[in-house]
């Protein structure tokens, strides 16, 4: 083998390399995609449904997202929020279908959300958070009920939102468990869950995982152009196909192959799809949500029936500069949600998609002088034509330091659990009633198992 080699590769060399490449998986078709593509048309599967999670990372201070406007309640809010309180006249009034006797307003940056609320497409779920079982202030202080571990820790509370289980070592998320029940309708199970925001636990199931894509779309491997490119690709694939005793090497190789196979299919589908007219904000979340809409648009061609998308917007951990920063965060969120909804309407897909927000936790009612610290319950948004919008769900906490909902330093305990929130979404998504306990094992601790924002 040490001989000089001055001539072009022989046919024998190429055959040997090709043979080595074929030993492994190579970049052949994944999951009979070719067959699926040939069979599928361009009409959406009759009952295609998609859930889109927008995770607000860091803990969104939703005390300044939805604010009471009635005199007594606003006064209480203002007194207890100190220098963080929004001026009354700045709030955007909303008129929910069902009133709890208090008037409410949205933060001034949420103009489009106010519009969507008025159109009946946006609902607000108040004071939802991590709960193992229902909690009162007394039972919290007595520690007489089971509590989520490490409340007020980002990592643990994000983990709880993703898993809905009080096990810090848990490795399975509730969207993953949900997908375990519905993925059979998808010819390509890996596309049941698509993440636009990298690795996450929410979308890891027992039988399903997720495909991670950047907002820019799937990336093809670029190193196979030019002279030698074909031979190089054969050799590259041959290396991917080798066996190894190392689980790290095997996992890496498998990921490389999977990424390339999926990219091949998705890029072609995206390239063939009609460009969106709706403009999205030029922000990371805007780019993610645009890609989500584009992905939903190509789902029919891939014969997909059910999908969950995961997006994330960061920088909500406003310990300081809440007054300056939170409005900017809300303005972007507002514009992104509006563009998302309008884009779906442009494509006629609005009946098939529900977007919902989540966040590590709400924040402390009280101020630390420059911002707020980690809290517990918070308000979340649910958006979509299927949503019974224009209404407020859940129960507003009493915005009073040392009041009945304050478990210490302005952390207000939630009245609705992640389980109830998720179960309401899961039912719409197509998880059958008998399957819900497997998706949300703690759901049985809560009396009301459907919050009503998606119809019955």
């Amino acid at each position: 083998m040490g001989a000089h080699r001055n001539s072009a590769p022989t046919r024998r060399d190429l055959l040997r390399l090709g043979a080595l490449a074929a030993v492994g998986t190579g970049f052949g078709t994944c999951c009979d995609l070719d067959r699926i593509l040939a069979a599928a048309g361009s009409t959406p599967r009759k009952d295609y449904r998609a859930l889109v999670c927008v995770f607000l990372a860091g803990g969104s201070d939703s005390h300044n997202l939805l604010v009471p406007r009635s005199k007594l309640e606003y006064g209480q809010y203002a007194a207890n929020r100190s220098n963080l309180a929004l001026p009354l006249e700045s709030l955007l009034p909303i008129d929910p279908l069902h009133s709890d006797g208090i008037d409410y307003g949205l933060a001034p940056q949420l103009e489009s959300s106010q519009t969507l609320f008025g159109e009946g497409k946006l609902a607000i779920l108040r004071n939802v958070g991590a709960l193992v079982e229902p909690v009162t202030k007394q039972s919290y202080l007595d520690k007489s009920v089971a509590l989520p571990p490490q409340l007020f820790s980002h990592k643990d509370q994000q983990h709880y939102w993703h898993t809905a289980l009080p096990d810090p070592g848990g490795k399975v998320g509730w969207a993953g468990r949900m997908s375990d029940h519905v993925f059979q309708g998808n010819p390509t199970p890996i596309l049941t869950n698509v993440s636009l925001a990298g690795a996450n636990l929410l979308q890891v199931g027992n039988q399903t995982s997720y495909y991670a894509m950047g907002a820019e779309g799937p990336q093809a491997l670029s190193g196979f152009d030019g002279q030698n490119g074909f031979l190089r690709k054969l050799a590259f694939e041959a290396l991917l196909g080798l066996e190894s005793d190392s689980p790290f090497v095997r996992s890496y190789a498998q990921l490389q192959v999977e990424a390339a196979q999926i990219e091949g299919v998705l890029s072609a589908a995206f390239a063939a799809s009609k460009p969106l007219a709706t403009q999205f904000p030029d922000s990371p979340l805007g780019a993610q949500l645009r890609r989500v809409v584009q992905s939903i648009a190509i789902a029919p061609g891939l014969a997909l029936e059910r999908q969950v998308f995961f997006c994330q917007k960061g920088a909500f951990d406003n310990h300081s500069n809440l007054i300056e920063e939170y409005p900017n965060l809300l303005a972007d969120l507002d514009a992104c949600l509006f563009a998302f909804q309008r884009a779906l309407e442009e494509l006629g897909l609005e009946e098939r998609v529900v977007l919902f927000t989540a966040s590590d936790f709400g924040r402390s009612l009280s101020s630390n002088g420059k911002g707020s610290d980690h809290g517990w319950g918070g308000h979340q948004l649910v958006l979509g034509a299927p949503v019974a919008g224009g209404d407020l769900y859940g129960t507003m906490p009493v915005l009073d330091l040392d009041g009945p909902d304050d478990v210490g330093a302005g952390r207000l305990l939630p009245s609705t659990s992640i389980d109830q929130y998720g179960a309401t979404l899961a039912r719409w998504f197509g998880v059958a009633e008998p399957e819900l306990p497997a998706v949300f094992p703690n759901l049985r601790s809560f009396a009301r198992q459907d919050l009503g924002f998606l119809g019955v």
Partner: protein
């Protein structure tokens, strides 16, 4: 030579000064062993360093590294800032240029590598705009880690705590005492994260890193009340050059370099509940409170195993055995020379532990780690003496393609979680693989493409050079190119510490042989260059080379 005696002692005696010293007296048994050590202890092995290490041995190498002058970047950045101190974008580019020059060219390789590991534990990030706005401060923070890498952890903890950059990042800067009338409390951000992420963690650990249980449940190291107690300690600190608590200096030096100082009037005077029921009495003052609080943290039994596991994960393997963690933690605790917190000794213990040094063939299959994407690029550049075409490491922006950059983590939780595992067999086996958290479908394609480009196009002799290229120097390899077996074997040592499988070797040799040596038709590219380029490219983008064992 010493090998037999040392081996006996290593397996039987555990971490005693004698066994560590004996081990360190050894010479690397071959080039591959030297390369393996260097790939962990530096930003990448080079043929020169391999030869050097084999000549002088580990002990002398560690001593040389300890004596080498730290390569700092803040003074240089300060000199470069003068024309436009407030052009933060340009100055952040300059900061990164200086960082790359330091980590690729600095003689103090071990110190730089440890500082990089520390930057993933004691995290600050320019992803926070307020931090980004003070590039001189960010450079100073880097220098704190570089200087502190071989010092005592207690000192490092203090310098990090008093850094105005950390003050901005985790909100200790201008954190004022509470005001009940106005419903204002002290900010808890730094208090929470210094405990959770920088020192102790959330649950009590045994010396070997095992989670201690009580009635079958982990034991929390602290609760909300303790966080509030520490938050009260961390009040009253503001800019070191300010006359008043509320002052903000106009210059980068004042905002980013001068340590914070205490303003007693804004410091919580009352008593503070801290760890394990310890109560700091009222009225001690800000500096005394700070010193006592940091002492308390430093002395906590968790710190040894916490840091040990983190450092092992950064340098050697993702899933160390409890015994390995325990041996390193014991060195941190002071069993080596009686001094708690000796980071140099701790790092040496990480690198020289028998579990680190056993050859890949003698390791269990799950030993090792996925290489950090940034280190894959850095080690490529060091291996082939990369030289920027423009003379500067201009616009090296790795964050998008490699998901990592110097002091650019997405949050204080770093790029990845120590316990992360991707779904599939790693998760099922209960193995941690943190680096997979940034190696998703997107991440793997982006990193692979970046490496393709950096090899296939960015090398001396490529017919279409760009001004901002960083060029690999492959000329020394041209002689070997006529002998594919030797070429592949040497690249295996340098790039893969000799861990290349026989099957991979066969493919590479076959592939190299298929590439003509004579490239005269190819725009005057030197003979053999294409073959070397192709070999390097295939290796650095392969699954086997992506994993360090």
């Amino acid at each position: 030579m010493f090998a037999a005696t040392a081996a006996l002692c290593l397996s039987a005696c555990g971490a005693s000064p004698d066994s560590n010293a004996l081990a360190a007296q050894e010479l690397p048994k071959d080039d591959a062993a030297a390369a393996r050590f260097l790939s962990r202890a530096t930003f990448g092995a080079t043929l020169d360093e391999i030869e050097r290490l084999r000549t002088i041995g580990y002990t002398a190498w560690f001593e040389e590294q300890r004596a080498a002058s730290p390569t700092l970047i803040r003074p240089e950045l300060e000199a470069q800032l003068l024309p436009d101190p407030e052009d933060v974008y340009a100055n952040d580019v300059r900061r990164r240029e200086l960082w790359w020059r330091a980590v690729l060219r600095g003689e103090d390789q071990l110190r730089q590598r440890v500082a990089w590991a520390l930057s993933q534990i004691l995290v600050v990030s320019t992803q926070d705009m307020e931090v980004f706005d003070v590039p001189l401060g960010v450079a100073e923070y880097q220098d704190i880690l570089v200087r502190g890498a071989f010092g005592n952890f207690r000192d490092l903890l203090e310098q990090v705590t008093l850094s105005p950059i950390m003050g901005i990042y985790l909100d200790m800067l201008k954190n004022a005492k509470g005001n009940d009338a106005l419903n204002l409390r002290p900010d808890e951000n730094f208090a929470r994260e210094v405990l959770q992420l920088f020192s102790i963690g959330l649950v009590r650990l045994a010396e070997d890193g095992a989670i201690l249980l009580e009635d079958g449940q982990p034991i929390a190291t602290y609760d909300q009340a303790v966080v509030e107690g520490f938050a009260r300690v961390f009040t009253g600190w503001s800019y070191g050059t300010g006359a008043q608590f509320e002052d903000t200096p106009l210059d980068q030096f004042g905002r980013g370099v001068v340590p914070m100082k205490a303003f007693e009037a804004q410091h919580e005077p009352g008593q503070k509940l801290l760890l394990d029921g310890f109560v700091l009495p009222a009225g001690l003052g800000a500096e005394a409170d700070m010193a006592a609080a940091l002492d308390l943290i430093f002395e906590h039994g968790n710190v040894g195993p916490f840091l040990a596991k983190h450092l092992i994960q950064r340098l050697v393997t993702s899933n160390p055995t409890p015994a390995y963690i325990g041996r390193v933690a014991a060195v941190f605790s002071g069993n080596g020379n009686g001094q708690r917190g000796d980071l140099f000794a701790t790092v040496r213990a990480v690198l020289m532990d028998p579990e680190a040094r056993a050859s890949a063939a003698d390791q269990p299959a799950e030993f090792g780690k996925l290489r950090e994407p940034l280190l894959r690029l850095a080690s490529l550049w060091r291996a082939f003496d990369a030289e920027p075409a423009s003379g500067e490491f201009t616009e090296v922006d790795t964050l998008d393609a490699l998901a990592q950059g110097p002091l650019e983590a997405p949050s204080v939780f770093n790029y990845y979680d120590p316990d992360f595992a991707p779904s599939g067999e790693l998760s099922v086996s209960g193995l941690a693989a943190p680096e997979f958290q940034i190696t998703t479908h997107r991440g793997i394609a982006a990193a692979t493409n970046r490496l393709f480009e950096r090899v296939l196009e960015d090398h001396q002799g490529f017919p279409y050079p760009q001004r901002d290229d960083i060029l690999l120097d492959l000329d020394p390899w041209l002689d070997l190119s006529s002998d594919p077996v030797a070429l592949v074997a040497q690249l295996d040592v340098l790039l893969m510490s000799g861990n290349m499988s026989e099957e991979m070797r066969e493919i590479l040799e076959l592939y190299c042989s298929a590439i003509p040596l004579d490239q005269a038709a190819n725009l005057g590219v030197p003979n053999g260059l294409k073959r070397v380029v192709e070999a390097v490219n295939l290796i650095v983008t392969s699954p086997e080379a992506a994993v360090e064992r």
